[in-house]
């Protein structure tokens, strides 16, 4: 299914959001690196996909109706074997009544540094892009910068310059500096998604994890559906 159809279907179904799996398809289509993942319909398939990806893996409940999974205990991390996979699968199913698209089996992206990228629509400025300190402390640290889309590479670099936690992006405790060019491309891409898709009102990518080699991937993502004001 192409990205436009994904969005159109969501609008037609009256969905408030896309599932994580579908959200990442949109991000990937715009060149934003996302974690490697598959949607499994049963435990057997989940195990099979985990072996393809390679342990350890992460399992998550996947549905457009579940926006915040961690709070509901619907994320299982550091799964290392068939037995652990099966047990985690059962645990997730007992914790939710929401009909699921399936269980997401995901590469476990290793990295100490977490960012957040996002999109919001302002009634006056239209689509605006955010980069911020990511992870569960996002709303405590409140280190964010915004720009109106479009955001070119120079503007994206300036956002990273303005970012208070910018030292995270340099060499950090034995980790390589982040691939800045690609990070800027990802920031620009968020703006492009906002400009090209009026039915997407907001985006959260949190966390975007930076690996020790400086590459990064969107590990969780949420695309909110709704007509923007501009």
């Amino acid at each position: 299914m192409d990205t436009q159809t994904l969005i159109d279907n969501a609008v037609e179904n009256g969905q408030k959001a896309l599932s994580e799996f579908d959200s990442k398809k949109i991000l990937a289509a715009y060149g934003i690196p996302v974690s490697q993942e598959y949607l499994a319909s049963d435990a057997k398939e989940a195990v099979q996909k985990a072996e393809e990806i390679g342990y350890p893996v992460v399992m998550k409940a996947c549905s457009h109706e579940i926006a915040h999974k961690t709070e509901g205990g619907l994320v299982e991390i550091s799964l290392n074997s068939t037995e652990e996979m099966k047990a985690a699968f059962e645990r997730i199913l007992t914790k939710t009544d929401t009909p699921l698209d399936g269980i997401l089996v995901q590469e476990m992206v290793a990295g100490k540094r977490e960012l957040m990228l996002g999109l919001v629509r302002d009634p006056q400025f239209g689509p605006c892009v955010m980069v911020g300190f990511g992870g569960i402390m996002t709303e405590i640290i409140k280190d964010t910068c915004f720009r109106m889309a479009p955001v070119d590479e120079i503007e994206a670099l300036d956002m990273l310059e303005e970012f208070k936690s910018k030292d995270l992006l340099g060499p950090f405790r034995g980790n390589a500096p982040v691939d800045k060019k690609n990070l800027c491309n990802a920031i620009s891409a968020i703006g492009k998604i906002g400009l090209e898709n009026d039915d997407i009102s907001e985006i959260d990518i949190n966390p975007l994890i930076i690996r020790s080699d400086g590459t990064f991937a969107a590990v969780d993502a949420l695309i909110v559906i709704g007509r923007g004001t501009k």
Binding site: V120, P123, G126, T144, R147, I154, E155, E162
Partner: protein
């Protein structure tokens, strides 16, 4: 984007040759009468046509019963009438053929309820007749170079170079005296109130093209045409600096959000980034807004962020150095040639490091001429901040010291003082590097007044001076960034 001010809908509002006036009478306590008086007090050179239902003349001007009775179609009409009369009067002015108005009257969108509908009605009438207007709920305009002041306070001070676009009327009308003491003034200042017809973006375009305006200040509560604002501000900022004081919270239509990004996109953070993207320097207070405006309007942009500090007192110098650290300005070490050039002026107890500290200056000539000249000449110095303490008594002693035995003579005092000031102004021109001073003495004293009158900004604290210098560095960086972006777009 306009290139000449006469292409702007604000042109006739700021440069009228004739004005019709509703709401002035011979009752001097009325706001309309006050505003009318401000107009002729400043010596407005065009025609004034008060319209009044009963009076034969208003404050010495022949009054007209009806707008239709005016012998000409005036360039501008000003309304200071009760709210209920505005729409009908606007309609009558439209029939007369008037194309520009200032609606001082309040009681529209800002009061909510019926005010919203009334403002829409007013806009409709204006559109029907092709009228562009400032307001409602505003104080109009001050164009010092055209002797126009439509505010209720007397204009004080001289015509200046600060253009202002304000969503607060007070910032236009209540700053005359404050700015005059700092040796600066407005070129043209707009109070646009509700911005129903002309808004901040129109003001920015006008001031960008205005030849009397060297720097643009803005007081912003909310921007309605956001995307146009960014585009216009970026273009204007390449020609002249823009400084904005944003005090948020008045945006309408902000929706509840579902995402974390949305919950973190408070207007303050959003405007912070978007102003920077627009090439606009953000001020954090009214004082800072005008500090930045005067330094950006007076001084050249520095080549880098390296600063020399000169002082004859340890504390203020150290406080200035500390402020530089916080603002990201760098204090370089001086090369040998600079040290050689200044060491003859520095006493044993002083310091030739940065900050250069004389501890006590016996020789005022060295302090105001020799040392700053050598520092500004140095390749490692991009700008200079001087702390000085020159009470009038010290000034007299210094004059005596350089052989002026008639130091008590006021005129001769002034001559020598003017020599210092002229020399400093000349250094500014010669080295093309920013030079500012700070002092805790009252800025109304002779010496700071003379310096400021000659284009050397003086501040009342080291922090103010350093932050103002930083605004020059910020302007230069934002400007370079936008130029690079434009170049990439073109290629």
């Amino acid at each position: 984007m306009i290139t000449e001010i006469n292409q702007s809908p604000l042109y006739s509002i700021a440069n009228p040759k004739s004005i019709a006036f509703f709401g002035a009478s011979n009752n001097f306590s009325a706001m309309g009468s006050n505003i009318f008086q401000s107009i002729f007090d400043l010596g407005f050179e065009g025609e004034l046509y008060p319209v009044h239902p009963k009076e034969e003349n208003v404050q010495g001007y022949k009054a007209y019963r009806d707008i239709m009775d005016l012998p000409v179609v005036p360039d501008l009409v000003i309304f200071v009438l009760p709210t209920r009369l505005i729409c009908d009067t606007m309609e009558a002015c439209g029939k007369k053929g008037i194309k520009h108005a200032i609606v001082v009257t309040a009681g529209f969108r800002e009061v909510g309820g019926e005010g919203l509908a009334l403002e829409e009605k007013l806009k409709g009438i204006a559109q029907k007749y092709g009228i562009r207007f400032a307001g409602p709920n505003c104080l109009g305009v001050v164009n010092t170079h055209k002797k126009l002041n439509t505010t209720f306070l007397n204009m004080e001070g001289k015509p200046g170079f600060i253009g202002l676009a304000s969503q607060s009327g007070s910032l236009v009308t209540q700053m005359f005296n404050y700015l005059a003491e700092l040796g600066v003034g407005f070129s043209t200042a707009f109070s646009i109130g509700n911005g129903a017809s002309v808004d901040l973006v129109d003001c920015l375009e006008y001031l960008g093209a205005c030849p009397d305006t060297k720097v643009i200040g803005m007081y912003v509560e909310g921007i309605d045409r956001g995307r146009e604002f960014v585009e216009v501000a970026r273009a204007v900022s390449l020609k002249k600096p823009i400084v904005a004081l944003y005090v948020g919270g008045s945006e309408t239509g902000r929706k509840a959000t579902f995402s974390h990004t949305g919950s973190m996109a408070g207007p303050d953070k959003l405007y912070d980034g978007i102003l920077r993207q627009s090439g606009v320097i953000r001020a954090r207070s009214i004082t800072e807004l005008f500090d930045y405006c005067r330094i950006l309007g007076e001084l050249p942009v520095p080549q880098g962020n390296r600063i020399a500090i000169q002082t004859h007192s340890g504390g203020p110098g150290a406080a200035a150095a500390d402020a530089c650290g916080r603002e990201g300005l760098e204090l370089p070490n001086f090369p040998q040639e600079t040290i050689d050039a200044i060491s003859e002026f520095i006493p044993q107890t002083g310091s030739i490091n940065n900050p250069v500290d004389l501890t006590y200056s016996k020789d005022q000539k060295a302090f105001f001429m020799g040392i700053p000249d050598a520092l500004l000449r140095s390749d490692v110095v991009d700008m200079l901040l001087m702390y000085y303490l020159v009470p009038d008594r010290m000034l007299k002693e210094a004059l005596g010291q350089i052989g002026n035995s008639e130091a008590d003579d006021e005129n001769q005092n002034m001559d020598v003082l003017n020599d210092y000031v002229a020399y400093m102004a000349q250094m500014l021109r010669q080295h093309k590097k920013p030079l500012v001073g700070f002092t805790f003495r009252n800025l109304s004293e002779i010496f700071p007044q003379a310096l400021m009158a000659n284009g050397i900004p003086i501040f009342s604290s080291p922090e103010q001076g350093v932050r103002a210098l930083k605004s020059l560095v910020t302007y230069s960086r934002l400007n370079q960034k936008i130029q690079l972006q434009e170049k990439n777009l073109a290629s």
